[in-house]
């Protein structure tokens, strides 16, 4: 299906996760994305994260250290709407594909370079990976409960890589929209640091150094923010409750056999409960231990107390093979010549008039090199020469990778 970005051509020179994920989102939205990959392969091709951010792309393997390869990129850029990559500062210039070099050939292009730290400044010469930005924006400190004496904790979801990718998607689409209206292209940049800042954007800092408004803090056991908004361990499994209104709180306490906690005026507010965790929680924790999470959830549902069993998806297994998720396109499956049958998340955004879906599998290294060059005007003999000189790598039929998988 076409998707809202049908007809948009994107060149993706990114590697790892933060670079390629944004173009994958653009591909999901219907853009044609050419992944321009080093002939030795994306540095992440060896690991499972690679396949999470490459689906639906066409693959052109180029040795960008050879000047002929840069010329290929520039020729393609003449036809492209977007060029996107996450090279470290100075690399694009060295390779001959920086903003000035590309816009000399196509002044209307939207050019996006995502960085680890940023464009200028003390750390800007450096690349980086997700944990560093989780560290400096405060995520690791907060997630671990360091104020209670715990070590900091890395959040496993590749948070700032993903945030960087999405910040650049928002930047690129804003620029693309502006170009649709005015015909003008421009330069866009963002960084893992900038993207990561969005996760803690609810905190603002006053002149005296304090933050506002006051936020509840996580407890030492990492269960939650208040007796009415936390995880409880049950006889079997864990349950997350969100009994935030006075009625929900009173009902929950009554169901747990502690109606006096629900009636106590000191605990009438979220903050009041949060301040009295040590007094309230031992009682509730013990009560939760008397039944399973499933039973509590059913009791709470019947009485209108918001709660969910904390589901162990067994590393995503149950989510990826859920009937509703399959029916609604929230998961996507494809066959890959080397990787076999694969399943990962599907539509992240749904469009009524320009539906997306039927995403293709991640491409193999150099899978479409010849086809892409041929389509964009290179003659067969020229392509043969480029392959012979090692400027271009075309996966041979039946031998898609130059190394054993």
């Amino acid at each position: 299906m076409p998707g809202p970005l049908d007809g948009v051509l994107v060149l993706d020179l990114g590697q790892f996760l933060a670079g390629p994920y944004a173009p994958m989102i653009l591909s999901d939205l219907g853009a044609t994305v050419i992944k321009i990959e080093p002939t030795r392969g994306d540095s992440m091709r060896y690991g499972s994260p690679f396949i999470g951010c490459q689906r639906g792309k066409l693959d052109l393997a180029l040795d960008l250290k050879q000047p002929e390869a840069a010329e290929i990129v520039l020729k393609l850029a003449e036809k492209a709407d977007v060029l996107h990559h996450n090279m470290t500062k100075g690399t694009a210039t060295r390779l001959g594909v920086d903003f000035d070099q590309v816009t000399a050939r196509n002044p209307e292009i939207v050019y996006c370079n995502t960085y680890a730290y940023g464009l200028e400044g003390p750390m800007s010469i450096s690349g980086g990976i997700d944990p560093l930005y989780q560290a400096v924006v405060g995520l690791e400190y907060e997630a671990g409960g360091v104020e209670h004496g715990n070590p900091p904790m890395y959040i496993r979801f590749g948070m700032t890589d993903t945030a960087n990718a999405f910040a650049s998607v928002v930047g690129v689409l804003s620029a693309l929209f502006h170009r649709k209206v005015t015909g003008k292209g421009q330069d866009v940049w963002t960084s893992l640091l900038n993207g990561g800042a969005m996760f803690v954007s609810e905190v603002a800092k006053l002149a005296d150094g304090t933050t506002a408004p006051t936020r509840p803090s996580l407890d030492k056991e990492l269960t939650g923010l208040s007796p009415c908004y936390r995880l409880y361990q049950t006889q079997e499994g864990w349950i997350q409750v969100a009994a935030t209104t006075p009625t929900e709180w009173a009902t929950m306490c009554a169901l747990l056999g502690a109606p006096e906690l629900g009636a106590d005026p000191r605990f009438a507010s979220f903050e009041g409960r949060a301040a009295a965790r040590a007094e309230i929680e031992p009682r509730l924790e013990q009560a939760f231990g008397a039944r399973t999470a499933l039973v509590w959830a059913a009791l709470f549902d019947a009485q209108g107390v918001p709660a969910e069993v904390a589901v162990d998806t067994r590393n995503g297994e149950t989510v990826l093979h859920d009937a509703d998720n399959e029916r609604l396109g929230l998961v996507a499956s494809y066959d890959h010549p080397m990787l076999g049958h694969m399943t990962q998340f599907g539509s992240l955004i749904d469009f009524s008039d320009t539906p997306t879906g039927d995403f293709g599998p991640p491409p193999m290294l150099g899978q479409h090199s010849r086809a892409i060059l041929s389509k964009f005007g290179w003659a067969d003999a020229e392509i043969d020469g480029l392959i012979e000189r090692g400027v271009v790598y075309q996966a041979a039929e039946g031998v898609p990778y130059p190394w054993p998988l």
Binding site: Y46, S48, E140, Y141, E221, V311, L320, L328, G340
Partner: protein, 385 residues
């Protein structure tokens, strides 16, 4: 500063986190955002985040349950490009303001929804608190705590995925509308917000070699990157020793003065890792964090201090990126907030001002629609505005 979305008007009926924050991204790129609040104001105005996520927009109070309020809202829709709502399913339909109700009358309107779960899903009527979606989606079990079992994530992963998806969906629909002339219904959800963060975790692949999926494996105590977290002198913490794509002139072990380690084995061989973790801890605990950071940077090895959220505002690179901006809030006064994460050279956009007071612009905005003073007085007396 010119913004890429100059001239685009958004009616924001959303509340919570994902809607207001997603709209903030668009407001900072120049969109003219009108926050449409119920009488008494958005109930999340007292919640953390409100001064930031409600910035760069004007506020109009409309009681959509009253006929006059709904009529004023429909007049506003005539002037709008985008409508954003984050109610539970059925709420907008009950008001007669569903996508189906509005699309034939306003064919260019982009109608964006961000509920907790996708429409038509069996969870769609489940309550939408962020932590409940964390639990239901499995995100909490994917993040092992310092004890067996799931961890509650203070950083709200479902909402923090959905706000980007919301802004992305609206921008894609706006771009598409330039060609088609038509608006459409765009929807995402907190549940899909979690899925957006599973690129490295949730892959079901028939022929993937087992060790390839071990790098990010869920272990207890948790996670491969946890082993790069070290306590330095004075109780300060450091995330150290990661590859930052530079040619290292000295290794982490050299800087610490200990025997070299096989970094690949540290990632995949649990016994080897455990054996060497203590040696590393002993080496870090005596060192000064600031000095170590400098040495690591000098040597081309990645390391950064583990800061509190407040300290993050003063991280020098954050300032160098102009990510910290001063915003005047009607309740708290001048405050520093995080700014615009994507920087556009020609249309950089900017924070368009602090959060409005409840209904601050009601009369002005309705006057722009042609309401005269006596009508506005009557609407105010009736509690419509």
């Amino acid at each position: 500063m010119p913004g890429a979305l100059d001239g685009i008007r958004i009616l924001d009926l959303s509340w919570g986190v994902a809607g207001p924050l997603g709209v903030m991204l668009l407001a900072d790129q120049g969109a003219d955002v009108i926050k449409v609040e119920p009488p008494g104001g958005d109930p999340f105005r007292d919640a953390p985040g409100s001064p930031v996520w409600h910035r760069s927009r004007r506020s109009v109070v409309l009681d959509l349950k009253q006929a006059d309020g709904k009529e004023a809202f429909l007049k506003l829709c005539e002037t709008a490009d985008v409508l954003v709502e984050a109610f539970s399913p059925g709420t907008m339909a009950a008001l007669g303001l569903s996508y189906e109700d509005l699309s034939s009358r306003f064919p260019r309107l982009i109608y964006a929804s961000v509920p907790a779960y996708p429409e038509g899903h069996r969870y769609a009527s489940r309550p939408g608190w962020d932590a409940l979606v964390q639990a239901r989606s499995g995100a909490q079990f994917e993040q092992p705590a310092w004890r067996p079992g799931p961890a509650h994530l203070h950083m709200q992963i479902p909402s923090m995925g959905a706000f980007f998806l919301l802004a992305t969906g609206i921008l894609a629909a706006l771009t598409s509308r330039e060609d088609s002339g038509k608006g459409q219904h765009v929807s995402t959800s907190l549940y899909q917000g979690v899925l957006a963060y599973t690129t490295m975790l949730w892959q079901d692949v028939e022929h993937l070699k087992a060790p390839d999926s071990l790098v990010m494996a869920k272990t207890y105590p948790p996670g491969v990157h946890q082993v790069s977290i070290y306590e330095c002198a004075n109780g300060e913490w450091l995330h150290a020793g990661v590859n930052v794509g530079r040619v290292a002139t000295r290794s982490m072990e050299e800087i610490l003065g200990i025997e070299p380690l096989d970094q690949m084995r540290m990632m995949t061989d649990m016994a080897y890792r455990a054996e060497n973790q203590q040696r590393l801890r002993d080496a870090f605990i005596t060192r000064d964090r600031t000095q170590l950071c400098e040495e690591f940077f000098e040597a081309g090895v990645g390391a950064d201090p583990i800061l509190t959220i407040a300290e993050g505002f003063d991280y020098p690179q954050m300032r160098a990126n102009n990510m910290v901006v001063s915003v005047d809030d009607p309740e708290f006064g001048l405050m520093e907030q995080y700014g615009v994460p994507a920087v556009l050279s020609e249309t950089p956009g900017e924070v368009q001002g602090g959060r409005p007071r409840v209904g601050e612009h009601s009369r002005k905005i309705l006057a722009e629609l042609g309401y005269d003073d006596s009508t506005l007085d009557r609407l105010a007396a009736d509690g419509v505005i």
